[in-house]
């Protein structure tokens, strides 16, 4: 996959936009990552209790739970797991707040997949 080597990265993708989450999951899997996609904040919290992940990709704007709240739970329960936030354009304030709670970085939606992959790799290397 064009020099990107992302084998065995365990990744949790949290986004309530099902179509988006699914296609991103598929594309990341194709790049060798082990991806689980969940569509609500609640499912995300359940998922990390069952299984460890190296990186979580977290949409900050979801129907059931505020992304920042999910982030806080993630960082409390699994501080070693890197979190990359996804935010809408113009809502960077929330993302910056997220950085204060220990998120690795953020990307604005819609983003290039290549950018996302690169960010994931950086996060893994950093942790």
């Amino acid at each position: 996959m064009k020099g990107v080597h992302s084998d065995d990265i365990r990744l949790l993708l949290v986004d309530d936009e099902v179509g988006f989450a699914e296609v991103i999951a598929k594309r990341l899997r194709k790049r060798g990552m082990v991806v689980q996609a969940v569509f609500t904040g609640t499912d995300a919290v359940r998922a990390i209790r069952k299984q460890d992940f190296d990186v979580a990709i977290l949409d900050l704007k979801m129907e059931d739970m505020d992304g920042i709240e999910v982030l806080k739970i993630f960082k409390r329960a699994y501080p070693e797991m890197a979190v990359i936030m996804l935010t809408g354009h113009g809502s960077e304030t929330a993302a910056k707040e997220g950085l204060e709670y220990g998120a690795f970085d953020y990307l604005t939606k819609p983003c290039d997949l290549e950018d996302l992959v690169e960010k994931i790799n950086q996060a893994v290397q950093a942790s």
Binding site: E17, G19, F20, V23, I24, K26, R27, K30, G88, H89, G90, K109, P110, L113
Partner: protein, 575 residues
């Protein structure tokens, strides 16, 4: 719709305001002036009247004393004569003539003649100019009265000689018989005592007896009716200090001052009279001057009040208009803000589907890398189509991003703003409309411009307005819209600044209108299309930023708006 109604109401309102202000100023200023002037005038009139009265009283009193003294002196002279000489001596006419000559030598021609009358009323001796020797007075009223008293002063009467005169008589005894020494007082000399009292134009004096007959020169033309004086005569015993002063209207309707004093122990009345208008002529002048001053003051006050209230109401009206304008501006800003919110919503809604589409296309691309597809004959076409989807998706993303950042800037906080970035965004937003109107936008933005410290949303409003106006102007015919920025140095007033030009090649603005385009409510657009506020708001915003906005136009050549925005002072800005 309600606009016309709204505009009519203020007119009434301002008229009413002007009127109220005018009345208030006039009442508040004129009333005290009139009150104070009236009070002072009243006091002055009173004291002046008192003064005039006192003066007249004193004058009359003095003359009364003069006359009384005169009469007493003359009487004393005659009494002295009667006591000093016997009846025998005095009945000698030569002797009597000598005595008269002596009296006339000392007192002048006051004594006209002397006569000695015996108890039967026969004048036994006479010295004087008339031929009255052996005249018989037994029937004369004065004779019987004189016989009963030690001395007697008669009223004026014509007597035997047929000329007005009055006599002084003293009664003496000689050998048991009563006889009378009688002297006639010169009427002219006596009259002079009274006639000298003349004041002003209408003041004169005269003497009346108890029957209101003139004891001095009759002034029948001046005093045709002596009825008013009867009152004084009846009342004369009650005069305080022997003088009474009264003001009353006479038969011709003039107000007259009467000053009366009793003479001869109440037998005679000295009357001085003068028209009040004459006596108080100085007062009249003062009143006239005061009234003239009050009138002038009132005119001044009314004029001032008129001008002042007009000016003030004009100011109020201007302030109201500005306020209204501000409100309109706020509404405009509000509209922009709600538009921004709507745009945000739409942008967010579109973002997700677009993201999914782009990602699905990416997924297909991923799959296309599988070998089974690599052999497909349409592979290149697939790849091109996918690339196109991605490209268009990115374009959508760009648009929504621009919309979002536009919407975010509806706050009026002062911040560092890059003019070029702001213009690029606006050009991007306006491109679709420009294309529709067949207008090409040319941007010539100088690179590396410093930022300006302004409210981004306000600046955005200004340029959006200018661009929209330019597009409106070229809507039918199409054309070119040139937007340029450049750095300029050291303007006299605003110092270093950025110069932005928005130029269209539309039909241009006639010179008559060009002078008015920044005026509020000036519009050439059809009714209902434009508020006429856009450019005046732009002007207000740019002026507030310390900048400058100008327009120049050539008919059929187009219009250019030039905006100059000052740069922050170097110590805080480019450091």
């Amino acid at each position: 719709m309600t606009k016309q109604h709204d505009k009519q109401k203020p007119n009434n309102y301002y008229r009413l305001l002007t009127r109220n202000m005018l009345l208030t100023i006039i009442i508040v200023s004129v009333m005290p002036m009139i009150l104070i002037s009236g009070l002072i005038l009243y006091q002055f009139e009173n004291s002046y009247q008192e003064k005039v009265h006192a003066h007249l009283k004193e004058l009359v009193l003095k003359h009364k004393q003069n006359i009384d003294t005169f009469l007493r002196e003359k009487l004393d002279n005659i009494r002295f004569l009667g006591i000093s000489f016997s009846f025998d001596e005095l009945k000698d006419e030569d002797f009597l003539r000598d005595r008269l000559a002596g009296l006339q030598q000392v007192y002048g021609r006051v004594f006209v003649d002397l006569g000695v009358v015996n108890s039967e009323g026969i004048q036994v001796a006479y010295a004087g100019p008339f031929k009255l020797g052996r005249a018989v007075y037994s029937d004369a009223s004065w004779f019987s009265t004189a016989l009963q008293r030690d001395y007697f002063k008669s009223d004026v009467f014509l007597g035997l000689r047929g000329l007005p005169h009055f006599i002084i008589a003293v009664r003496e005894n000689w050998k048991g018989e009563k006889w009378i020494l009688r002297a006639t007082i010169d009427f002219v000399a006596f009259n002079n005592l009274v006639e000298n009292i003349r004041i002003g134009q209408t003041g004169f004096a005269f003497i009346l007896n108890r029957k209101a007959e003139f004891q001095t020169k009759p002034l029948l033309e001046l005093v045709p009716d002596r009825e008013p004086y009867m009152g004084f005569l009846r009342d004369s015993r009650n005069f305080k200090d022997g003088v009474r002063i009264v003001e009353q209207d006479n038969s011709t309707g003039h107000k007259i001052i009467y000053v009366a004093a009793v003479l001869k122990h109440g037998d005679w009345l000295l009357v001085y009279q003068q028209k009040a208008s004459d006596a108080f002529s100085d007062l009249g002048t003062t009143i006239r001057i005061t009234l003239a001053l009050i009138l002038m003051g009132t005119i001044c006050i009314v004029t001032t009040a008129f001008v002042l209230s007009r000016k003030m109401v004009a100011r109020v009206a201007k302030a109201d208009r500005e306020n209204e304008l501000m409100n309109d501006q706020i509404v405009e800003t509000g509209k922009l803000a709600s538009l921004g919110e709507m745009a945000t919503g739409i942008a967010h809604e579109i973002n997700n589907p677009v993201a999914i589409m782009v990602e699905e296309a990416g997924w297909i691309e991923d799959l296309m890398e599988e070998e089974e597809f690599q052999k497909g004959e349409n592979l290149a076409e697939f790849e091109r189509a996918l690339k196109q989807i991605k490209t268009q998706g990115r374009r959508c993303k760009d648009i929504t991003h621009k919309l979002l950042s536009f919407a975010r800037k509806t706050d009026s906080r002062i911040q560092d703003v890059s003019v070029n970035a702001l213009l690029e965004e606006l050009i991007m937003l306006s491109e679709q409309r420009a294309k529709y109107s067949n207008v090409t936008i040319h941007a010539a933005l100088q690179e590396n411009l410093p930022t300006v410290r302004v409210s981004e949303s306000e600046l955005q409003q200004v340029f959006l307005n200018l661009i929209n106006n330019a597009l409106d102007a070229m809507e039918k015919i199409g054309g070119n819209l040139r937007i340029s920025t450049q750095m300029e140095e050291s303007h006299i007033i605003i110092g270093d600044h950025i110069l932005i030009e928005v130029a269209d090649d539309g039909p241009g603005i006639p010179t008559v209108n060009l002078a008015k385009i920044f005026d509020p409510f000036f519009t050439t657009k059809p009714v209902g299309k434009g508020t006429g506020l856009g450019l005046s708001i732009c002007y207000g915003i740019i002026k507030k930023m310390g900048g400058n906005i100008e327009a120049r136009s050539v008919i059929d050549g187009g219009t250019t708006f030039t905006v100059k925005l000052p740069l922050p002072k170097s110590e805080e800005g480019n450091a």
